[in-house]
Amino acid sequence: MSLLSIMDVSASGLNCEKLRMELIAQNIANIETTKTSAGGPYRRQVAVFKETLRNELNRSANPGKFMGAGVQAKIVTDNAPALMVYDPQHPDAGQDGMVAKPNINLANEIVDSITASRAYGANVTVFNATKSMALKALTVGRG
């Protein structure tokens, strides 16, 4: 147990929230993208978070020990159906005049970006507190 390893825990939180923010930016930037290399409209991407546990194999060996080591994220493509919008002038419109737009809800993305930003700030606060503890620990014996 060291203060530096606690910083790593906060860093994992920062990393995952940053990834979430990146995906939100990517989603909003592509909110009108109707063509992708995979064909069809852009699909919303989401970061799915999972708790990281250190040494998962040995967990049964010492059950009472705290194994938490932060968080990890995975990028998942949202499989919700594309948004069908009537726009016959659009170059990608079908025979019936419907265009398949990305399955992105702008309000959801904005709310998610606020949550991500707050969570990022919370991790920064914990990181700074840990840092001040580490610096204080360096003063042992000076007094």
Binding site: S2, S12, G13, F66, G70, V126, T130, T139, G141, G143
Partner: protein
């Protein structure tokens, strides 16, 4: 009378370790604030320190010579998981305000314990310098 007249150093060290354990748990909880279904951890090291039955986990340092001193390091404190359902729809029961207030308290506690150690060392230094320091 040896250098360690009392057990203060040992006690403060144990509480510093407890404070570190709590900081780690808080960092873990906060980093998982957006993890669906996550349940927060907590460590009540004060109660564990107060418990006279407590047996510190002795994880001795490896010694390569018989005359080396093995110091018990890393007293392990039991970490419990709060399985309450919480107020959020995603099953996560981390409350940011609660974690932040615990963290600030923990920080103050850690600083207080370190100040205590520094004062003890200062007193020892004063004595060693014949009171001239």
């Amino acid at each position: 009378m040896g250098f360690e007249v009392d057990n203060t150093f040992r006690v403060i060290e144990a509480s510093l370790n407890g404070s570190l354990a709590r900081q780690k748990v808080i960092a873990h909880n906060v980093s998982n604030i957006n993890t669906p279904g996550f349940k927060r951890f907590l460590v009540d090291f004060e109660e564990q320190l107060a418990n006279p039955q407590r047996k510190p986990a002795q994880l001795p340092l490896k010694v390569t010579r018989a005359r080396h001193i093995s110091i018990p390091v890393n007293e392990d404190f039991a970490v419990t998981r709060d399985l309450s359902p919480g107020l959020r729809a995603d099953g996560n029961n981390v409350n940011l305000e609660q974690e932040m207030s615990l963290m600030v308290k923990n920080n103050v506690y850690f600083n207080a314990a370190l100040n205590q150690i520094n004062k003890k060392i200062a007193v020892r230094k004063y004595v060693l310098s014949d009171g001239r320091g």
